[in-house]
Symmetry: C2
Subunit: 212 residues, 2 copies
């Protein structure tokens, strides 16, 4: 009984260390992917960056595809913490849509990722490469558009957003503003102001807001 | 005199053949870059795709960077033919802005590039890689935004667009719609309708149009 218990503790301890290592590897892989692209990410490259053996990275993920999927999942977690969670503390509908825009812009402004938003660049990079990584990105982006659409529908139901508004069309327009802010800041650097993104987001919402 | 003339003809003939080969290589490189990314493009990969010797591709470009810059320039030429030239036949200002949006959407709809717009994906891909290719993309995109801004300014001067409109802000919003249409069609395929992009473009213009 005691030895079994100890055995379980050892296994748990190993698992916890494995999880910590895997978590650290994924966090590093996200930064690497933001610069090199999701396709440029490789187990060898990640091992070299961390200064560990290729075999140990391989043991944690098994394949490049599994590493790519883990990077998408970890990026999703970061976006939940930085963009989604703060917005969930506001009222659903128009207020939450504003908070999501502000969360997105300040997340970009803080340069969370070395090379810009992993999901934005990966979604363009992976289009010609069907597979689990591409499916994972499409699923996360669909989830994000659904969150926008749900809040648009709530805003319409509450009378904050005009009745004729098409939730999918408005979600497309809002998402476009955020993608473009990421893109222009990546391409033009310091000469791009995130306030252009903030104003863009507010203007799209203003167009569909019920006149008060 | 005669032999000199003949010599010049030979040189001209060689140049013309060289130019034809280079043009065919660049056209193929643009398609390859749309799938593999501008960074994924290599002289070896292009030679393999065309079924020619690596040395002959190298002779035409000299370096991967020169090949990337040539791809950006050729993509710009394609966009001038398909998007800009038709719009230049319309009146400057609001009418031309509408035509540019329609040109962009129908260019995307026709799937001109195997893997989507080279400039859209390359600009996100190259952000962490300073150099001539990145500079070439930034210059083309700056040129595109300037074209939008110029027509917005013309629209304001003609009284078609409201006086308080900020040309850079409106150009950002229009460009965002086009980038997002490319992005969603790449990621979601057939389930994305370019009419969402067309409506998005029209809604942005409608918001800034002088009430009639």
């Amino acid at each position: 009984m005691t030895s079994k218990h100890t055995g379980a503790q050892i296994v748990d301890g190993r698992r916890a260390r494995g999880a910590r290592t895997r978590e650290a590897l994924v966090a590093e892989a996200v930064q690497l992917a933001s610069v090199e692209g999701l396709e440029g990410l490789s187990i060898a490259h990640l091992a070299a960056r961390i200064g560990t053996a290729k075999s140990s990275v391989h043991a944690s993920f098994g394949s490049k595809e599994a590493l790519q999927v883990a990077v998408v999942a970890h990026t999703r977690d970061i976006l939940i913490d930085l963009v989604i969670a703060p917005a969930l503390k506001t009222e659903p509908g128009l207020q939450r849509l504003s908070a999501l825009g502000e969360g997105w812009m300040s997340y970009l402004e803080r340069k969370t990722f070395e090379g810009g938003c992993v999901l934005s660049s990966a979604s363009l990079e992976m289009d010609g490469r069907p597979g689990p990584a591409r499916d994972a990105i499409a699923a996360v982006m669909r989830e994000w558009l659904d969150l926008l659409e749900d809040n648009i529908a709530r805003g319409i139901a509450k009378g904050e957003i005009t009745a004729g508004t098409d939730p999918a069309q408005l979600a497309f327009a809002l998402n476009a503003v955020g993608m473009a802010a990421n893109w222009q800041s990546q391409l033009f650097g310091e000469t791009f102001s995130y306030d252009t993104g903030r104003t863009g987001w507010a203007q799209v919402l203003a167009q569909h807001k019920t006149p008060s």
